[in-house]
């Protein structure tokens, strides 16, 4: 008994480098051997709301997708971007991408490229999607999109004049869109979209964001200012799965190439690493508490 106590107390005073090492391994091993652990994914309400909202869009509806993340948060947000784009294209929705972070430009490009190269849909630039360039200014740009988009954007990323792009006709401000989807990892992000554009002009807004932002965004979700939310990597995995099932079951979808192979996304495979790391941390916390309890009792 004394021995066990001693061990626990020792555990409580572990060098933090040891914790670092274990955390590192708990992430590394599932990534190296993904087939060792396989855990099913269950969807949460907020992700379902997002899916339903996007699913209710009709053919030809216009959706503004805003990219506010960069390379560092790519693992969390990028799978969402791809899944959302797939979902939109599978319903024949027109997509307009706008980056509000400098790196968002590249992320939008990668996401579109990934969807195009998957050969699932026959989509063409300027017919099914338009990519707008990055403009510095954050919330000013959101404000500008809300009031007068053409004063901010005159060309798309490939320097084609917007006046020459057919799918840009009739789009002058935010009220010309049917939906805004925001992929954000910070500021400007979904809060700015609520404050500066969507709330005021009553344009439905959904968001996918990093997990750290969720608690800040939840009041907006609760009040319906943001319709559903995809929360971090699990949110991405859930959405990926929903889209994957949707594409597989929807055999009559005219937008889908029948020959193409639908592959599940990346977030799903990352979830096992995530699960193990979380489990390890919980175990740390439990051990930490036991040793804390024992030490405290000794002092008394």
């Amino acid at each position: 008994m004394e021995l066990i106590k001693k061990i626990f107390i020792q555990l409580g005073q572990l060098d933090r480098r040891f914790i670092f090492l274990l955390i590192g391994l708990s992430v590394l091993i599932p990534l190296l051997k993904p087939d060792w652990i396989n855990i099913p994914i269950k969807t949460t309400t907020n992700s379902k709301i997002v899916f339903e909202e996007l699913n209710n869009l009709k053919e030809g509806d216009k959706v503004l997708v805003s990219f506010e993340y960069g390379a560092s948060t790519k693992p969390e947000i990028h799978p969402m971007s791809v899944a959302v784009l797939q979902h939109l294209f599978s319903n024949g929705v027109k997509v307009y991408t706008v980056p509000l972070w400098p790196e968002g430009l590249m992320m939008a490009k990668y996401a579109i490229e990934e969807v195009v190269s998957s050969d699932l849909f026959n989509i063409e630039e300027h017919v099914d999607y338009v990519s707008l360039p990055y403009k510095a200014g954050g919330e000013i740009i959101i404000r500008g999109i809300a009031t007068d988009m053409r004063s901010i954007f005159t060309q798309d990323v490939n320097n084609v004049l917007l006046t020459e792009i057919p799918m840009m006709t009739g789009i002058n401000n935010i009220t010309d869109f049917d939906f805004v989807f925001d992929l954000s990892a910070g500021v400007p992000g979904n809060a700015e979209w609520v404050q500066f554009a969507c709330d005021e002009y009553k344009i439905p807004l959904s968001s996918g964001c990093t997990s750290i932002m969720v608690t800040d965004a939840i009041p907006y979700v609760e009040s319906g200012q943001i319709r559903g939310i995809l929360a971090g990597m699990p949110g991405a995995a859930e959405y990926e799965q929903m889209v994957f099932e949707y594409l597989n079951n929807d055999t009559y979808n005219k937008y889908l190439n029948k020959e193409a192979v639908i592959v599940p996304g990346k977030a799903t495979s990352r979830m096992s690493a995530q699960s193990i790391a979380h489990l390890l941390m919980v175990i740390f916390i439990v051990f930490g508490n036991i040793s804390y309890y024992l030490i405290r009792k000794r002092k008394i």
């Binding site: 933090r16 914790i19 670092f20 955390i23 590192g24 992430v27 855990i39 099913p40 994914i41 269950k42 949460t44 309400t45 960069g70 390379a71 560092s72 948060t73 400098p102 790196e103 430009l105 590249m106 990055y134 510095a136 200014g137 919330e139 000013i140 404000r143 500008g144 009031t147 004063s151 997990s211 969720v214 608690t215 800040d216 939840i218 009041p219 609760e222 929360a231 971090g232 699990p234 979830m271 096992s272 995530q274 699960s275 193990i276 790391a277 979380h278 489990l279 941390m281 919980v282 740390f284 916390i285 930490g288 508490n289 804390y292 309890y293």
Partner: protein, 267 residues
């Protein structure tokens, strides 16, 4: 006089931007909506020159005086100079200066992609380790507040990942019982009594729950509990903080635009 001028400007611009939201005069509205903040960006762009001069001064000083770690300052200066050269002098791609910053193939972009990005992303990823050691230290059942912190933190951690869905109802119940006892452990005078009642609870409560057919309640499903925590008490908390922050910001802004908060302009 010089100082008065600055205050006058703060008060004037402050009230202009505040009241401009209510006045029906489109140049003013347009100024507030777009130009005001654009101007800010431009002014801070000019200030960037000052930043650069300061950086150069600091590191050149360090090198000249051979202060601690002065050798590393050479690295900083080298990195800075290379970026400036690639940004303004040497292009390396076919597009014009300016757009070349984001062009795959320019020297600047190469530096961005291979030096800047990985460094930023790795610094960010270091947080995974720090958050582990911080939670190891912070999540202790010290008092009731700390316990709440722990409960909501831990339930979120496991409830959000697929592993949380694998936890059966009885295990969730046992976790609750253990937590409860951890919280009230201090109230017991005799250790044996506590252990005894803990064991009884651990054995009896699940049986009672099972026979009363209560085990399907969503409180025993960690993912659902987690969602509730997030939707209800955490929402209340964040709403209170949000309103508090809004009030604080408004009051602070008010003090600024009425010229009362003076230390900002050096007074």
């Amino acid at each position: 006089m010089k100082r008065q001028l600055a205050y006058f400007l703060v008060i004037f611009i402050g009230f202009l931007t505040l009241l401009g939201h209510f006045i029906n005069y489109s140049p003013l509205n347009n100024f507030i909506d777009n130009d005001a903040t654009q101007w800010f960006d431009i002014i801070s762009g000019f200030a960037a020159f000052l930043g650069v001069i300061n950086l150069l001064q600091l590191h050149l000083n360090k090198i000249a005086n051979k202060r601690d770690n002065w050798r590393y300052s050479i690295i900083t200066l080298a990195g800075f100079t290379i970026m400036i050269i690639f940004g303004f002098i040497y292009n390396g791609s076919s597009v014009a200066m300016g757009p070349h910053l984001k062009e795959d193939g320019s020297a600047f972009y190469w530096m961005f992609q291979n030096i800047y990005l990985p460094l930023g992303a790795t610094m960010f990823a270091l947080l995974a380790f720090f958050v582990a050691s911080a939670s190891y230290r912070a999540f202790k059942i010290r008092n009731f507040e700390a316990t709440l912190l722990l409960i909501s933190g831990v339930f979120l951690m496991i409830g959000r990942v697929p592993i949380g869905q694998l936890i059966p109802w009885w295990m969730a119940l046992e976790i609750y019982i253990c937590l409860f006892f951890a919280l009230i452990a201090n109230r017991f005078e005799e250790k044996k009594k506590m252990l005894f009642s803990l064991v009884i609870c651990i054995i009896v409560l699940p049986l009672i729950t099972y026979f009363l057919n209560l085990h399907n309640l969503s409180i025993f499903k960690i993912p659902e509990l987690q969602e509730w925590i997030m939707d209800v008490p955490a929402t209340a908390g964040s709403r209170a903080i949000m309103i508090g922050i809004a009030l604080g910001t408004i009051a602070q802004s008010y003090r600024i635009i009425t010229g009362r908060e003076r230390s900002i302009l050096g007074d």
